[in-house]
Symmetry: C2
């Protein structure tokens, strides 16, 4: 750890898998891991009042540097008290660096060793992002964890392009670290290297030499198969230190989370619960439910009678009606349910690891999802 | 009262004005009056989880018969437990009859003495609504208070057209009453008669002769001046019995509510708090705030530091950002604030009436709103 405001406790290592039960301390409180962060892109987890976010069991949320620098701008956020006060979330916050959005969202992005130049997806304005700038923005936002700027590329890609992006990511990590000024913000480095195990290990080792307080695996969920992603984790995670949190960026489906925890990952973020919720799809132990389906029109049952969320106090018939009538409450309730589902899944995973029952837990959940309705 | 599941208590009559403090008992609990009902058009107060509706201080909500019969259909609502269970609101519910929507929303509405024939505003389907049918729908919905079907026309209108609609409204009230089967649902009659005091009084007297458990003043807020509306109330209210609730339909601005309470009205509904909330306009004691205004970009103050709602735990700068970024949370928070504002206004009005201070209260509020920013 580079300062004493952050610390990582490894509480229990599962006896059968690489899963671990841990706790990460931040200036805004601890995070029980493995943990899932809902995505609060623009200073709001879409559709959820902040008290509702807390009620889902969420411990830490993610904010997007790329989005927040465009709207409202980090100066506005800083003037309004930083991201915690701005959005009213007094728990831990992690901000990404913008690297992924430069790949996925910005227009005409050109990257050289110095910086990325791109056009805003909102108004086409020509903008730049360097490692130093990404840290400056995140320090203005005041997140607990800042991510270094990485160079994300789509897969598959030629090995030389993957190597080039990896090399640049390492170089930028060093520059980010040198640019950091806040002792109440920890920087996590990001391992790149595509699907190439050797490049991933090489990248991990070089970043580990720099002694970051946490490590992320980035550049996944960009078009590869789930099995390929897991192979990358199997190669990469052993190269990371046991005494630091490990964060798999932008992942994923419930099954991806459990499979990744099994391979030693501690932290996740993903838009799936909220994006699916807005689109009338609910996660359950028996797979996904598409609530627009006519068969739910008169269904008096809740999505999940064991779920404590507000959506599960209503019938599926009511929820379907809200979506058919395009009422805002449909996306609101289903986003709440899906985040709640993810958080309960992670809480149960933590319990299973502590009890040395993770393998059984994993199998039981995976078999439930496997039975899901044909889509 | 036509049955013993409903009763009306007149608790205090203001000494200086016609304002009254009263309580209306329904099978789903009492309503402290004067009271304001948020509009839950399609079984949801737009943007608000039902617990949030309760937190605003709301006692009773309104559902729209026209909207609910089109989507999801009253049979679906009935099968899913009736409107209370459907939307999860266990307090009192009033449903309107569809009369206003036949005027304002349906297409090509043709009304004769038997019924109204119209085309759905959603898919153009040819539909009918008779007084008997309006009651059948509302009994399927299971609201506590059902409104009789009335014939609403736009103003100004020729006196003969106004008289014709009034005569039909009286006739239809009688048919609604004859069609009622549920003893846990009270029917309120609706006084029509345009801006003509004589017609209003004539209509009121005929309806009072039928001994309804409550009376509404309808056909206002359809294009007339506020002063004209108040003149109609001054003519109509004295013709209504003191021992029944008096409901002014579809009104209105905060100033309209206070002026109407002053003239003896007990109950209101209006889409203004939610519709304005969705459109970035907040109600305050100093008038309306348009949150998209650039001057709020870095404003750290809440809309109203004395307001207990969730929106007022955030800065105006944050709320503005949500609207500029088109985040759902903007409409959600501002709808909460506006309903909360209306409910606090009504609660304060009730206190003022009890203390015989309504006139002072009214003047103080009206002068605050008069100072509002030029729009």
């Amino acid at each position: 750890m580079n300062n004493n405001k952050f610390s990582f406790e490894l509480l229990h290592a599962d006896s059968q898998t690489a899963a671990r039960r841990s706790r990460f301390h931040t200036p805004h409180g601890p995070v029980e891991m493995p943990a899932f962060m809902p995505v609060g892109t623009l200073g709001t987890v879409k559709g959820l009042e902040i008290e509702h976010v807390r009620q889902t069991g969420t411990q830490m949320v993610l904010g997007n540097t790329y989005h927040l620098t465009l709207r409202p701008g980090e100066d506005v956020v800083r003037e309004l008290g930083g991201l915690h006060d701005f959005m009213g979330w007094q728990g831990p916050i992690l901000t990404d660096s913008g690297g992924f959005q430069l790949y996925s969202l910005a227009k005409m992005t050109k990257v050289d060793d110095r910086k990325a130049v791109f056009r805003s997806h909102i108004d086409g304005q020509l903008l730049e992002l360097s490692p130093e700038h990404a840290i400056r923005i995140q320090e203005a936002l005041g997140s607990d964890v800042a991510m270094v700027l990485d160079h994300v590329i789509g897969l598959p890609a030629p090995r030389e392009a993957v190597r080039d992006a990896m090399r640049r990511t390492i170089d930028w990590a060093e520059r980010c670290r040198a640019a950091g000024r806040r002792d109440d913000q920890a920087q996590f480095a990001i391992v790149q290297g595509g699907l190439d195990a050797d490049l991933r290990v090489e990248c991990a080792q070089k970043l580990v030499d720099m002694d970051f307080p946490g490590y992320a695996v980035g550049g996944l969920s960009v078009g590869e198969e789930p099995a390929e992603m897991l192979q990358v984790l199997e190669a990469t995670v052993p190269a990371l230190p046991v005494d630091r949190p490990r964060y798999l960026m932008g992942v994923g489906r419930p099954e991806d989370l459990l499979q990744s925890i099994r391979r030693g990952i501690d932290l996740f973020d993903c838009v799936m619960p909220t994006r699916n919720g807005r689109n009338a799809t609910a996660f359950t132990d028996h797979g996904r439910i598409r609530l627009r389906n006519l068969k739910y029109e008169r269904d008096p049952r809740p999505i999940d009678e064991n779920c404590p969320c507000a959506a599960c106090r209503r019938s599926m018939g009511y929820l379907r009606h809200l979506f058919m009538a395009r009422e805002m409450l449909g996306p609101i309730l289903l986003s709440m349910h899906n985040i709640c589902y993810y958080q309960r899944l992670l809480a149960d995973a933590r319990d299973a690891i502590e009890a040395d029952l993770y393998e059984e837990f994993c199998k039981s959940k995976l078999s439930g999802w496997a039975k899901q309705e044909i889509e």
